[in-house]
């Protein structure tokens, strides 16, 4: 039995129906453990004070924001090469989740930046490339909603995703180059992490696991919704034509 079985919408729905409840439970459990542990039972950092608790939100959401795009890229390629509808719809379903993750990373980062760097926002390469990613997400979603034929929408957004990924990588390097030397090492983030590893590390792992599972659950569920929406469209079109 090949994995492509699940490219069939009905099979996919059946599978996701079975997996979803467990996934919801796991994700909320992990999130609860990670966040409660992190928030209530970890000490303050000696330099960052209590703001270090933001890490349990910021890092997982930032990771998921990037991974969501990556997942969309893979799904787009599958659609273009094998034309499995479910993968196109999964890419569509993942985009809003990616936007939310990006938003959380941006907000928590900004809130963290205020006490740490004395400003909400600096044009640091990492932050900047995140903002660009945000733009890509918005464009992607806007394109989906602007094209009304589902197949050509899938085609076009897939191409956008692929070309966009190339340019996203390019921008990442461009931004690094651009802000070189202009911005004084704002990213104390990295060494901090290695310094204070263990106390903060374990709850962070739970939190990351929680975000990953939540992401999977949301994407699975939303893909199911998209499949039903597509089915409804197909049924209605047939009804009109053959009434």
């Amino acid at each position: 039995m090949s994995i492509w079985e699940y490219a069939n919408p009905v099979k996919f729905l059946r599978l996701s129906e079975r997996v979803l409840p467990a996934l919801w439970v796991i994700s909320f459990a992990c999130l609860a453990i990670g966040l409660i542990w992190g928030f209530f039972f970890t000490p303050d950092d000696f330099r960052q004070g209590s703001t270090v608790k933001i890490i349990y939100l910021h890092v997982p959401s930032a990771l998921m924001a990037i991974n969501a795009w990556f997942m969309m890229l893979v799904a787009s390629l599958i659609w273009l090469i094998r034309r499995h509808h479910v993968s196109a719809l999964a890419a569509k379903a993942a985009a809003p989740v990616g936007i939310a993750m990006t938003l959380i990373a941006l907000i928590t980062g900004a809130v963290w930046g205020q006490p740490m760097w004395g400003t909400w926002w600096v044009w640091d390469p990492r932050l900047t490339s995140f903002l660009i990613l945000f733009l890509f997400y918005i464009g992607y979603v806007a394109l989906w909603s602007a094209v009304d034929d589902p197949d050509s929408a899938a085609d076009l957004t897939s191409m956008l995703c692929i070309v966009g990924s190339v340019f996203a990588v390019l921008s990442r390097y461009a931004v690094n180059f651009w802000n070189q030397g202009l911005h004084q090492g704002a990213s104390l983030s990295l060494d901090k992490e290695t310094n204070v590893a263990n106390v903060f590390y374990h709850p962070l792992l739970f939190s990351i696991a929680g975000f990953v599972c939540l992401f999977l659950a949301l994407v699975l569920y939303r893909t199911g919704t998209e499949i039903r929406r597509r089915r409804m469209r197909a049924l209605m079109a047939r009804e009109v034509r053959h009434a």
Binding site: P150, A234, R238, H242
Partner: protein, 206 residues
């Protein structure tokens, strides 16, 4: 030189409109596509012109031999009638622009911008394009819309001349075009609920 369609299923908006269409047009022959509004003539013609993919079935004809004329004529309002034709003649390599203008009685209007032509004059210019592209297979979607009787006769002569030189024509129309041609009624091929199982992209969801 011929156009053969076998067991063709064409879809619009993800659902099949016509299923199992088979016919063939030989050199020197014209076929009129008939069928009520919304029966799928436009969809069929676009598929044969390779502007969209068929759901199933074969189309036997060399895409490089096809000239397609849709309802919109592809005319640039800001170019004169002659410049419009010259452009298409150049894209397709050659073709006598003056003769084409003459054939549709547009010589007098050759310098006028397309924006300043009346509905019927525009349409004539769109048809004159067919003469300059010099392709043997004509696929025409309602070519005589807004033409008066004299212009319809011009068009009929154009088609006859084309057939006489070994061309062929497939024409969707609701009107009488004033020359004898075989008719092909698409309404007999309306895709039924069963035909939906044939692979249109909606199929997976039904």
């Amino acid at each position: 030189m011929m156009l053969r369609v076998k067991d063709l299923t064409v879809a619009r908006g993800g659902l099949p409109v016509l299923a199992g269409v088979s016919f063939s047009v030989d050199a020197g022959q014209a076929v009129m596509l008939r069928g009520p509004n919304g029966s799928g003539k436009t969809t069929l013609l676009r598929t044969i012109a390779r502007l969209q993919d068929p759901v199933a079935g074969q189309i036997e004809c060399d895409p490089d031999q096809v000239a397609y004329a849709a309802h919109s004529d592809g005319l640039k309002s800001m170019l004169s009638a002659r410049e419009n034709l010259r452009f298409w003649a150049d894209v397709y390599g050659g073709g006598d622009v003056e003769a084409a203008l003459e054939a549709f009685e547009l010589s007098r209007l050759a310098e006028r911008m397309a924006a300043h032509l009346s509905a019927g004059q525009r349409r004539r210019l769109g048809l004159a394009r067919l003469l300059v592209v010099k392709r043997p297979i004509w696929i025409l979607d309602e070519p005589t819309v807004s033409l008066d009787e004299a212009s319809v006769a011009l068009f009929a002569n154009g088609v006859k001349a084309h057939l006489a030189t070994g061309g062929l024509a497939l024409i969707a129309t609701h009107l009488d075009l004033g020359f004898a041609a075989e008719r092909f009624d698409v309404s007999a091929y309306r895709a039924t609920a069963e035909a939906v199982g044939l692979g249109a992209s909606d199929e997976a969801f039904l």
